[in-house]
C-alpha cells in the first residue's frame, strides 16, 4: 500500500523508461555467463569449469555484497570519495524514483548490480588456471565493495569525478579501467602459471570464444543503451554507437591481423568485439555516431599493441583484461575529452569543439581510476594471501582446476566411472 502511494505521489515514473530498463537489466545480466563462456573457451580444457565458475561466483557474491553495502557505498549520499550507508541492506530502495530519474530506485539498484557482477567476473581473467576457488570467492566479495563500489561512486554516484564534470556514460572508470588495472595487479600478486613462457598454453575452444563475444555484444546494448536510464536521446545514441564502434574495431583488427600475420584470426575478431564495446562504453551517449566509428578504429590500436607485446613479458595477465578493458576504456574516456559535442549530449563539448577543460577532467579520471584500482587490488590480494594460499600447488595446476577445485570435468565421458551413490539410493 505504501509503495503504491509513493508512486502516485511522485508521478515521475515513466512506464516506457521502466519497461526498457527492466529489459536492459536482464540483458546486462546475460553478459556475465557470456563472459564465462568467452573466458572458458580461452583456457585449456582442464580448466573450463573453474574459469566459467569464476563468472558464476560473481553472480553470487557480488549480488549479495551489492545488496548488503555495495550499492549504498556507491549511490547513497556520502563524501566525494565514498557513499554513505543510507541504502545499506536495501533500506529506502523502493518504487520511488531516484532523484532526477523516471524509474524506480529498486530497478536502478538491480541495473547497477548487474554492472558490479560483470566487472568482478572480468577481473577473474587475470588469475584463471591457477588461483584457488575459495580465496577467489573472498576476493570477489571484498573487491566488489572496496574497489568497484568506490569507483562507481566517483563516476556515477555523486563522487568527486562526477562532481567535477568527468563524463563517463556507462562505466569507463569503474567497469573498464577498474577491471583492467585490477587485473594487472592481480596477475602480479598471484604470479604466472607454472608453464607460462615454457609451453604453448592455447585456447581450447574458439567457438566458445566467438559465441561468448557475440552474446556480450548483445548484452552490451542493454549495458550502454540502458545507461541513459530512459528511452531518451542519450540511450538511443549510446545504443546505436554500440553497433557502430565495435564494427569499426573489427574492421581495423582484421587489417592489423592481415598486416601482421597475413590471416584474419577468429580469436582476434572476438577480442575486437570486446575492445570496441569497451571503447564506446564511457563515450556512448556523449559523442556523435561518426565520431563513435572513429573511436572504434582508434581503440583497436593500443589494445592490439598490448596483446602482441604483453605475452613477451613475465606478466601472465592471462586473458588480457588490461588490453581489452583497461586500455580500451582509457582510450574511450580520453576520446570523450576531444570530441564530445553539446548538440549530441546536452552536457559538454570536447577540445575540438571548444572546451579544453573537459579533456582535463577526462585525463584526471584516466589517471585516478587506474591508480586506485591497481593499488587497492594489489593490497587486497596481498592481505587475502596472508590468510590463505592464493594458488593451487604445481601438481594441482598440472592436473587442472576443474578436478581439483570442483571435482567435475567439463568433458566427462563417464567411461570407467563406477557409481558410488545417488541421492535416491
Amino acid at each position: 500500500m505504501t509503495a503504491i502511494a509513493v508512486i502516485s505521489a511522485s508521478t515521475h515514473i515513466s512506464a516506457g523508461d521502466t519497461a526498457w530498463m527492466l529489459v536492459a537489466t536482464a540483458m546486462v545480466l546475460l553478459m556475465t555467463p557470456a563472459l564465462g563462456l568467452f573466458y572458458a573457451g580461452l583456457v585449456r580444457s582442464k580448466n573450463t569449469l573453474n574459469t566459467f565458475m569464476m563468472s558464476i561466483a560473481a553472480l553470487a557474491v557480488a549480488t549479495v555484497m551489492w545488496a548488503l553495502v555495495g550499492y549504498s557505498l556507491a549511490f547513497a549520499k556520502g563524501n566525494g570519495f565514498i557513499g554513505g550507508l543510507g541504502y545499506a541492506l536495501l533500506h529506502h530502495v523502493d518504487f520511488a524514483p531516484r532523484a532526477g530519474m523516471t524509474i524506480p530506485s529498486l530497478l536502478f539498484f538491480a541495473f547497477q548490480a548487474t554492472f558490479c557482477i560483470v566487472t568482478v567476473a572480468l577481473v577473474s581473467g587475470a588469475v584463471v588456471e591457477r588461483m584457488r576457488f575459495a580465496p577467489f570467492l573472498l576476493f570477489a566479495a571484498l573487491w566488489s565493495v572496496l574497489v568497484y563500489a568506490v569507483l562507481a561512486h566517483w563516476a556515477f554516484g555523486g563522487g568527486w569525478l562526477q562532481a567535477h564534470g568527468t563524463l563517463d556514460f556507462a562505466g569507463g572508470v569503474p567497469v573498464e579501467m577498474g577491471s583492467g588495472f585490477s587485473a594487472l595487479a592481480a596477475a602480479l600478486v598471484v604470479r604466472a602459471r607454472k608453464d607460462y613462457g615454457r609451453q604453448a598454453l592455447l585456447p581450447h575452444n574458439a567457438v566458445y570464444v566467438l559465441l561468448g563475444a557475440g552474446l556480450l555484444w548483445f548484452g552490451w546494448f542493454g549495458f550502454n543503451g540502458g545507461s541513459g536510464f530512459s528511452t531518451g536521446h542519450s540511450s538511443v545514441l549510446a545504443f546505436t554507437n554500440t553497433l557502430l564502434t565495435p564494427a569499426c574495431t573489427l574492421v581495423v583488427w582484421f587489417a592489423l591481423d592481415l598486416l601482421r600475420g597475413r590471416r584474419v584470426t577468429a580469436i582476434g575478431a572476438a577480442t575486437a568485439i570486446i575492445v570496441g564495446c569497451v571503447g564506446i562504453t564511457p563515450a556512448g551517449g556523449y559523442i556523435s555516431p561518426s565520431w563513435a566509428m572513429v573511436l572504434g578504429a582508434v581503440a583497436a590500436l593500443p589494445s592490439y599493441a598490448i596483446i602482441v607485446l604483453r605475452p613477451r613479458t613475465r606478466v601472465d595477465e592471462t586473458l588480457d583484461v588490461l588490453a581489452a578493458h583497461g586500455a580500451a576504456g582509457l582510450t574511450g574516456i580520453l576520446f570523450i575529452g576531444f570530441v564530445a559535442q553539446l548538440p549530441w549530449n546536452g552536457a559538454s563539448n570536447g577540445l575540438l569543439y571548444g572546451d579544453a577543460g573537459q579533456l582535463g577532467w577526462q585525463a584526471i579520471a584516466a589517471l585516478a581510476g587506474p591508480a586506485y584500482a591497481f593499488t587497492a587490488t594489489f593490497v587486497l590480494l596481498r592481505l587475502i594471501g596472508l590468510l590463505t594460499p592464493l594458488r593451487a600447488s604445481e601438481d594441482e595446476e598440472a592436473l587442472g582446476m576443474d578436478i581439483v577445485q570442483h571435482g567435475e570435468e567439463a568433458y566427462a565421458t563417464g567411461e570407467g566411472a563406477i557409481l558410488v551413490s545417488t541421492e535416491a539410493a
Partner: protein, 117 residues
C-alpha cells in the same frame, strides 16, 4: 629393433616430447587413452550422482627404434614422465618383427632410422 610403448600422464607430455627430442628419438606417435594403474580413484559428483573415476586420462607413446636406441629412449621417457607419485605410468618394450617405410618400401632398421642418418 623394438617397439617401445609408454603410458604417461597427459600433463607430462610436453616434458616427454622435449626429453625424446634431446635424446634424438624422432619417430613418434601418441594417442590419448584411458587407463588405470593402481593410483587412488578420483571421486566426482554431478548433481546427486557420485562416481569413482576408475580410469584416468593417459597418453600412450609408441616408438619403433633400432636396438641401439632402446635404452636412450627409455631413459628419456623416464626423465620426462616421472613425478614420483603413483600414476606416473609404465614402459613396455616388445620385439618388433618387421617395419616398412611406406614411401620408399625400405624395411627393418632402415625404416625406423630417421632421414639423414
Amino acid at each position: 629393433m623394438k617397439l617401445v610403448i609408454a603410458i604417461v600422464r597427459p600433463e607430462k607430455v610436453n616434458d616427454v616430447l622435449e626429453a625424446l627430442y634431446r635424446a634424438e628419438v624422432r619417430g613418434i606417435s601418441m594417442s590419448r587413452i584411458q587407463g588405470h594403474g593402481g593410483e587412488l580413484d578420483r571421486v566426482e559428483t554431478y548433481r546427486g550422482t557420485t562416481v569413482k573415476m576408475g580410469l584416468s586420462e593417459k597418453v600412450r607413446f609408441e616408438l619403433a627404434v633400432s636396438d641401439a636406441f632402446v635404452q636412450p629412449t627409455i631413459d628419456a621417457l623416464c626423465a620426462g614422465a616421472r613425478t614420483g607419485e603413483v600414476g606416473d605410468g609404465k614402459i613396455f618394450v616388445v620385439p618388433l618383427e618387421q617395419a616398412v617405410r611406406i614411401r620408399t618400401g625400405e624395411t627393418a632398421e632402415r625404416a625406423v632410422t630417421p632421414l639423414g642418418k
